[in-house]
C-alpha cells in the first residue's frame, strides 16, 4: 500500500471517526468528574442516533433532529441518574441495563417510524463546510477543515469544556464532587444537584455523538450502528485522563487506528480482514496498559454517595 496516498483519507476517516467518540467521551468526562461512571453510553448513543435520524427526517430540519436527540439522550440518562444518584444503585449494573433497554427502544421506534414505508429509511445529511484556504492544505486540509458543522462544534467544544473545568466556578464544583463529595457538601455545594447536572450534560453530549452517526456519517439508522463506540469512549476518558484535551487526543488516536484498519482492508483485499478490524480494540487495550493506570481518575468515582454516611 502506498501509505502517503492513503494518508489523507486515513486522516479524514480519523476525524470523522473521532467525532462521535469525542462527543460521548466529553459527556462522560462530566459524568465521571461528578463521580458517576456511566457504562450505558452505548445505549444512549443508540437512542441519539435513532432520534436524530427520525426527527431530522420528520421535520426536515437536521438541527431539530439533533436537538431532540439530545433531549432524548437526557431523558434516558435520567433513568440512570435516578437509579444511581437517588437510589444509590450500582453504577455498572444500571449502565448495563441501559445498554440493553435503550437500543431496544430505538429499534422499536425505528420499526414504528419506518415500518413498511421504506421511503423513511433514508434520511438527510448535514453538508460539509470547507473552510476556504485551510481546507486545501495538503494531507490535513480535507480531514480537518472540510467537516460538517456538528463536527466543528464538537472540536470547538474541547477548549470550551477545558475552560469550563478550569475557569468556571461550576467546573471546580464538578471536580470536587467527583473527588470528595463530603468535602464538597461542607462547602455548600449541592452534591446531588451536581450529579444530576452531570447526567444531563452527559446524556445530551452522548446522544449528540450518536446523532452524528446518522446525521453526518450515513443517512440511515441500523440496529447496532453504534458498534461499541460507547465503550471505546469510556476507554478514551481513561487514557485521556479525564481531561478534555486528553480525550480529544485519545479519540483522534482511536479514529486514526480505525482509519488505518479501513485503509488496510481497502488495500490488502485478500488478507483476513478481521485482524485489521481488531486493531482499534487491541490498540485501546495497549494504550490503556501504557497510559491507563497511573492516574486513577476522580477519587470518588463509581462510589454511591449517601449524605448521612459517617
Amino acid at each position: 500500500m502506498d501509505f502517503m496516498t492513503a494518508l489523507p483519507t486515513i486522516l479524514k476517516a480519523m476525524t470523522m471517526g473521532a467525532v462521535p467518540i469525542l462527543l460521548a467521551a466529553l459527556g462522560e468526562v462530566f459524568s465521571e468528574r461528578a463521580g458517576l461512571v456511566n457504562i450505558g453510553l452505548e445505549g444512549v448513543m443508540a437512542i441519539g442516533a435513532f432520534v436524530g435520524f427520525a426527527v431530522g427526517k420528520m421535520t426536515g430540519n437536521l438541527w431539530v433532529g439533533l436537538f431532540v436527540a439530545m433531549l432524548a439522550g437526557v431523558l434516558i440518562n435520567m433513568l440512570y441518574a435516578f437509579c444511581t444518584v437517588t437510589l444509590c444503585a450500582d453504577q455498572v449494573v444500571t449502565g448495563m441495563a441501559i445498554n440493553i433497554l435503550a437500543p431496544a427502544i430505538a429499534l422499536f421506534g425505528y420499526n414504528l417510524f419506518v415500518g413498511s414505508n421504506s421511503a423513511n429509511a433514508t434520511g438527510d445529511q448535514m453538508a460539509s463546510i470547507a473552510i476556504p484556504g485551510l481546507s486545501s492544505i495538503p494531507f490535513i486540509g480535507n480531514a480537518f477543515f472540510n467537516q460538517t458543522l456538528l463536527a466543528y462544534l464538537a472540536f470547538v467544544l474541547v477548549p470550551l469544556v477545558r475552560y469550563f473545568f478550569k475557569h468556571f466556578r461550576a467546573g471546580l464544583s464538578f471536580r470536587s464532587v467527583g473527588e470528595n463529595p463530603h468535602a464538597a457538601e461542607t462547602l455548600g455545594i449541592d452534591v446531588v444537584r451536581v450529579k444530576y447536572l452531570a447526567c444531563i450534560v452527559c446524556g445530551a453530549l452522548t446522544a449528540a455523538g450518536g446523532a452524528f452517526l446518522t446525521l453526518c456519517y450515513t443517512p440511515i439508522y441500523t440496529d447496532g450502528i453504534v458498534m461499541g463506540r460507547g465503550f471505546i469512549a469510556l476507554a478514551t476518558v481513561i487514557f485521556g485522563r479525564w481531561s478534555a484535551l486528553g480525550v480529544l487526543g485519545a479519540s483522534l488516536l482511536f479514529g486514526f487506528f480505525d482509519g488505518l484498519n479501513v485503509a488496510l482492508q481497502a488495500q490488502f483485499q485478500a488478507a483476513p480482514v478481521m485482524f485489521f478490524k481488531m486493531i482499534p480494540y487491541i490498540f485501546t487495550i495497549v494504550a490503556l496498559i501504557f497510559f491507563g493506570s497511573k492516574h486513577a481518575g476522580p477519587k470518588a468515582n463509581g462510589q454511591p454517595y449517601f449524605r448521612e454516611q459517617r
Partner: protein, 340 residues
C-alpha cells in the same frame, strides 16, 4: 390481530386436500429488517410481489432481527401455526433449520420451507430429509455480468469497486462476473473488492470507498452489503455525484434522493413459483429454484438520467448476450475467481 390461528383447528383439517385449500399462509424470517435497503428489503418486496399474483395467500408479520440462537425457534413457531410456507432469507438459515425441518416433515406435513441463496448440494448436508424444502439460487453470473456491463460503460477512470457483506460463494461469483464483464468492455479496467464488510456498519462503507477513490481512482461502485452500501454512496456523493456512480442491489432504488445511483440489479426470489408448486403439490425434495433473466429472477432496474441513451442502448444489447450466455464465458469468470 386475527392472523394467528390455533394449531388445534388446523390439525383437524384434512391434509389430503391440499390442492383445494382456499387459503395459504406465508411467513418470512430474516436476520435484519425489512427496511434495510438491501438484502431483507429485497426479499420482502419479492414476497409482496408474489402475494399480488397469489390472492389465496396471506402473509404473517415478518420475523425481523432473528439472532442465530433464535433462528430454529423462530421457524418452529411458524411450524406450530401450520404456516404453509416459511421463507428464510439467506443461507445462514440452512444449517440452523435442519432439525426443525426434520421434525416438521413428520408432524406437520403441510408446512414447507424455502431457503434463499442456498446451494442444496453444498449447504444442506446436515439434512436428514429434504422433503419439505426447496432453495432459491439466482444466477449470480448474470447479476454480476449485468452490473459489470453498466460499470464498464460508466467508468471514466477504468477503476471499479465492489463491497460484499460476507464472503459467500455467491458474493465471489458476483464479483468475478462483474469484473469479467467490465473487462470485456475495456480490458484495462481494474477492480477493488471487500467481501467482509458486514451488513450494518455504514461508516465502513464510507471509509472503504473513500480509500478507493483516493488511492485507486474508483468511480463506480457496486454493493452487496445492505446498510454498508449506503455508506459507499455517501462517499461517492461527497466525491461528486456527477462523476461517481453506484449500482444498487438487490432492489430498484433509482430516484431523486439517490443522486449517485445509476441503476440497480434487481433480484426476485421466485417466491411466486414456490407458491405455485405448493398449490399444485409439487413442492419439495430439496430442489433449487433458479432465478435468472429468462424467468424474471434477475433484471436491471430503471436508469437514472446520468446514463445516456447511447449507453442504455449498449447495455440493452449486451444484456441480450448475457441472457444468451454469450457475453462472458464461465472460464473468464472462474479465471478471476481463482485470483481471489
Amino acid at each position: 390481530g386475527g392472523s394467528g390461528s390455533s394449531s388445534s383447528s388446523s390439525d383437524s383439517s384434512a391434509s389430503g386436500s391440499d390442492s383445494e385449500q382456499s387459503s395459504y399462509k406465508v411467513a418470512m424470517i430474516m436476520s435484519g429488517i425489512i427496511t434495510d435497503g438491501g438484502w431483507d428489503q429485497g426479499h420482502y418486496e419479492s414476497l409482496k410481489r408474489a402475494l399480488e399474483s397469489h390472492p389465496k395467500w396471506t402473509m404473517l408479520e415478518p420475523k425481523e432481527n432473528t439472532a442465530d440462537a433464535d433462528a430454529a425457534t423462530a421457524a418452529q413457531t411458524y411450524v406450530d401455526q401450520d404456516v404453509d410456507l416459511i421463507i428464510g432469507n439467506g443461507n445462514q438459515f440452512a444449517s440452523d433449520w435442519a432439525e426443525v425441518v426434520a421434525d416438521a416433515a413428520d408432524s406437520h406435513p403441510k408446512v414447507h420451507f424455502l431457503i434463499t441463496n442456498t446451494d442444496p448440494t453444498a449447504e444442506m448436508t446436515d439434512y436428514e430429509t429434504l422433503d419439505p424444502v426447496e432453495t432459491v439460487l439466482p444466477d449470480f453470473k448474470q447479476t454480476g455480468a449485468l452490473a459489470g456491463v453498466v460499470a464498464g460503460l460508466m467508468t471514466q477512470t477504468k477503476s471499479i469497486g465492489f463491497i460484499g457483506g460476507m464472503k459467500l460463494p455467491s458474493t465471489i461469483t458476483k464479483y468475478s462476473a462483474y469484473l469479467a464483464a467490465a473487462q470485456k468492455i475495456d480490458p484495462s479496467i481494474q477492480g477493488q473488492y471487500n467481501f467482509e464488510a458486514g451488513f450494518t456498519d455504514a461508516s465502513l462503507g464510507t471509509n472503504l470507498t473513500q480509500q478507493w477513490i483516493a488511492s485507486n481512482n474508483v468511480d463506480v461502485m457496486w454493493g452487496d452489503a445492505s446498510a454498508v452500501d449506503n455508506g459507499a454512496r455517501q462517499a461517492l456523493e461527497a466525491a461528486g455525484a456527477d462523476t461517481h456512480f453506484d449500482i444498487a442491489q438487490p432492489i430498484d432504488i433509482v430516484g431523486a434522493d439517490q443522486p449517485t445511483v445509476v441503476t440497480s440489479t434487481v433480484t426476485d426470489w421466485m417466491i411466486g413459483q414456490a407458491m405455485d408448486e405448493i398449490e399444485s403439490g409439487s413442492f419439495g425434495g430439496g430442489k433449487a429454484i433458479t432465478g435468472n433473466m429468462d424467468n424474471g429472477g434477475i433484471t436491471l432496474g430503471k436508469f437514472s438520467d446520468k446514463v445516456s441513451q447511447d449507453v442504455q442502448d449498449k447495455i440493452k444489447e449486451y444484456s441480450e448476450q448475457i441472457k444468451a450466455g454469450t457475453f462472458v464465458t464461465d472460464d473468464e469468470v472462474s479465471a478471476i475467481q481463482n485470483t481471489l
